[in-house]
């Protein structure tokens, strides 16, 4: 199956190819690993790979697969879920809130032309400011939020459309 690590766009192709007791064969891309997985009483287990033993825990929740390896924490999603999100318009067509928070500042207006890397909106979450920028040159189709708005994780803040081919570096004039 295809997985993506949350925060990473790269797809990982991984599957259990065979399982015999505690011995598990796993294919990751074109590599094959033979691992020994020994469950523990507390719901986790010990994963032995190449002579190293890792304490691991795993759980599925909603569409995520949560994994911990020692102190390292991971969240994976099936790639279908990620591409569904992209189909909904993540691919630079929309600026979405990466987490719940408050809109502190909106730097653009409908009709503005923006450059790659240009700051569009600042949100505050967990007492930290995060600036969201355009991934590529674009035309601001619609600003959906105003300063002071509370927004949920994944909320669309700004809709973008491709910048017109003839566009100059200047933004549309402001009132």
């Amino acid at each position: 199956m295809k997985l993506t690590r949350v925060g990473d766009s790269q797809e990982i192709d991984a599957e259990v190819t065979s399982r015999d007791g505690n011995m598990v064969r796993v294919r990751i891309g074109d590599r094959e690993l033979v691992v020994e997985f020994t469950p523990n009483a507390d719901g986790g287990g010990i994963l032995a790979i190449d002579g190293r033993r890792y304490p691991v825990y795993g759980a599925r929740r909603k569409e995520s697969i949560f994994i911990s390896v020692g102190p390292a924490s991971f969240e994976f999603k099936p790639a279908e879920a990620s591409s569904r999100r992209r189909a909904r318009g993540l691919a630079a067509a929309e600026i979405v809130a990466p987490m719940p928070g408050k809109v502190l500042k909106v730097m653009v207006r409908d009709g503005d032309l923006v450059e790659a890397g240009q700051a569009l909106v600042v949100i505050e979450a967990m007492k930290m400011e995060t600036t969201l920028a355009a991934e590529s040159a674009a035309l601001v189709k619609h600003v959906r939020v105003a300063e002071g708005d509370a927004v949920d994780h994944g909320a669309v803040l700004i809709e973008l459309s491709p910048a017109p081919a003839s566009s100059t570096r200047e933004s549309a004039p402001r009132a």
Binding site: F37, D50, I67
Partner: protein, 495 residues
């Protein structure tokens, strides 16, 4: 002064729990307050009483002075401990408590007002002949430009009322000044309700070393050694230790002397921390944190004391006395809900599994339990792991092992990052400065072996739902009304 009987803790999370524990030891009844987002939090159950004070928004709950004072009156509390953050350094909160005949466990409001403002605190330091970093009190862009041109870039912009790195900006060149001033003022206004800013010279390679002080109502002030808190990300401390490695006895004595002079000049009472930047043989006063610090446990472990109990003693009118000589070394690291591989982006989630380390010299101050929700409403501190040793290497070894035993499933966190820092030769060799992270740990990634292990575990977890339907399941236990986690399955629950 009348003896205290009942303490309201105006905070949440690990610090609320930590204060409740000491208050109980001190013989006090405890009252927790909580927002709607924290109704199921551990501190609520740990106290003798708990009072809901408002919705999740901090401004309408943990920052609502009237709501907290009214809860204290309702419960008949005769003292309030503010913890750190939230209202802990708001003079108007200390004043409101005093007005309600409730003892505030902290400095007097006028002392807090003087020290809480960086600009005013700096004036007190200068008057007490304590060295300060060159800087100006200015919000005007023209004055800022002139200062930048005089001392040279980079320069540092801070919130006058600030703390915890919020509202702080490093300006590398004149061209960035205006934007940075604006952002700093906005962040300061949002975080502290006070948009005034302060500009100072940016030291190239400083260490952050602070002195713990404790003053009483009889004019005595003592110092409880130093803490080195140089390792910071986004200007927020993530690793703290005591003693400060390599700090000479002479420097330590000078810094303690300066901290005590400043505390006496300010008529300081209760626990506080004087922060300094240290570069070479020079040290510069930074600010006073007029409250208990997040990192106070490293001091407790070396001095064998309980600083919250000391605070309660002072608040009861007792005098402080010189502490016994400290021994050993202690190191703390802050486990935060954040993604160190992606610019420390804050994370939220539900704790699906928690493994807590143990053993001699290991202390874990945390409010985490299985099922706890980490919400976006408050800061992301999940817990503090503190290790003590006869010397720094023993403490460091214990901390590396303790972090290795730690596991938190369901909330992205920085524990593996902290383990790699504590285990690094740069940390072993104490190559400490506030640029430690930038110099040695920018672009950090989880080791490839651990990523492989995670992918394998993910593949097994994903495969498990399709296969193994014939495996015996305990059908009742996951439908328990007590278990809020019945909608997910750990591997073990199906075996």
């Amino acid at each position: 002064m009348a003896r205290l009987t009942k303490l309201l803790i105006a905070n949440r999370g690990e610090i609320a729990l930590r204060i409740i524990r000491s208050a109980r030891l001190f013989g006090l009844k405890t009252v927790a307050v909580y927002s709607a987002a924290d109704a199921k939090s551990v501190h609520v159950g740990a106290a003798d009483e708990a009072i809901a004070i408002g919705p999740p928004e901090a401004a309408k709950s943990y920052l609502d002075i009237a709501a907290i004072i009214s809860a204290a009156k309702q419960a008949g509390a005769d003292a309030i401990h503010p913890g750190y953050g939230f209202l802990s350094e708001r003079p108007e909160f200390a004043q409101a408590a005093a007005d309600a005949q409730i003892v505030f466990v902290g400095p007097r409001p006028e002392v807090m007002a003087a020290l809480g403002n960086k600009v005013a605190a700096r004036r007190i330091a200068v008057a007490a002949a304590v060295p300060v970093v060159p800087g100006i009190e200015a919000a005007e862009i023209s004055a800022a430009r002139e200062f930048g041109a005089t001392v040279g870039y980079p320069i540092l912009i801070k919130a006058a009322a600030g703390g915890g790195g919020r509202g702080m900006r490093v300006v590398a060149e004149a061209g960035q000044l205006e934007t940075a001033l604006e952002a700093a003022a906005r962040e300061a206004a949002a975080a502290f309700g006070d948009g005034r800013i302060f500009i100072e010279k940016y030291l190239a390679h400083p260490r952050h070393i602070e002195i713990q002080i404790l003053g009483d109502d009889h004019g005595n002030v003592i110092a409880l050694g130093e803490r080195d808190c140089s390792i910071q990300r986004r200007h927020q401390k993530i690793v703290e230790e005591s003693p400060a490695p390599g700090l000479s006895e002479a420097m330590r004595a000078k810094m303690i002397d300066a901290a005590l002079k400043l505390a006496r000049a300010a008529h300081y009472t209760n626990a506080g921390t004087t922060e300094f930047l240290v570069e070479g043989d020079n040290f510069y006063f930074l600010e006073v944190n007029a409250r208990l610090q997040v990192e106070h446990p490293v001091t407790e472990m070396r001095f064998g004391c309980d600083l919250v109990c000391e605070q309660l003693r002072v608040a009861s009118g007792d005098a402080v006395s010189e502490p016994a000589a400290p021994s050993g070394a202690a190191i703390e690291c802050r486990i935060n809900a954040e993604d160190p591989e992606h610019d420390f982006r804050p994370a939220t989630g539900t704790v699906l599994h928690l493994s807590v380390p143990g053993g001699p010299g290991v202390r874990f101050d945390s409010h985490l339990v299985r099922g706890a929700e980490v919400t976006p409403w408050y800061d992301g501190l999940l817990g503090k792991l503190i290790c003590y040793g006869a010397d720094r290497e023993e403490a460091r070894g214990r901390l590396v092992d303790a972090l290795g035993e730690f596991a938190l499933l369901g909330v992205t966190n920085n524990a593996a990052y902290l383990r790699d820092i504590i285990a690094s030769e740069q940390f072993r060799d104490a190559r400490l400065s506030t640029h430690f992270i930038d110099e040695f740990f920018s672009g950090w990634k989880i080791a490839s072996g651990e990523i492989d292990a995670a992918i394998v575990a993910a593949a097994i977890t994903a495969g498990d739902t399709q296969a193994e339907s014939a495996a015996p399941r305990a059908s009742n236990d996951r439908h328990s009304p007590w278990d809020s986690l019945h909608n997910f399955e750990l591997w073990g629950s199906r075996r």
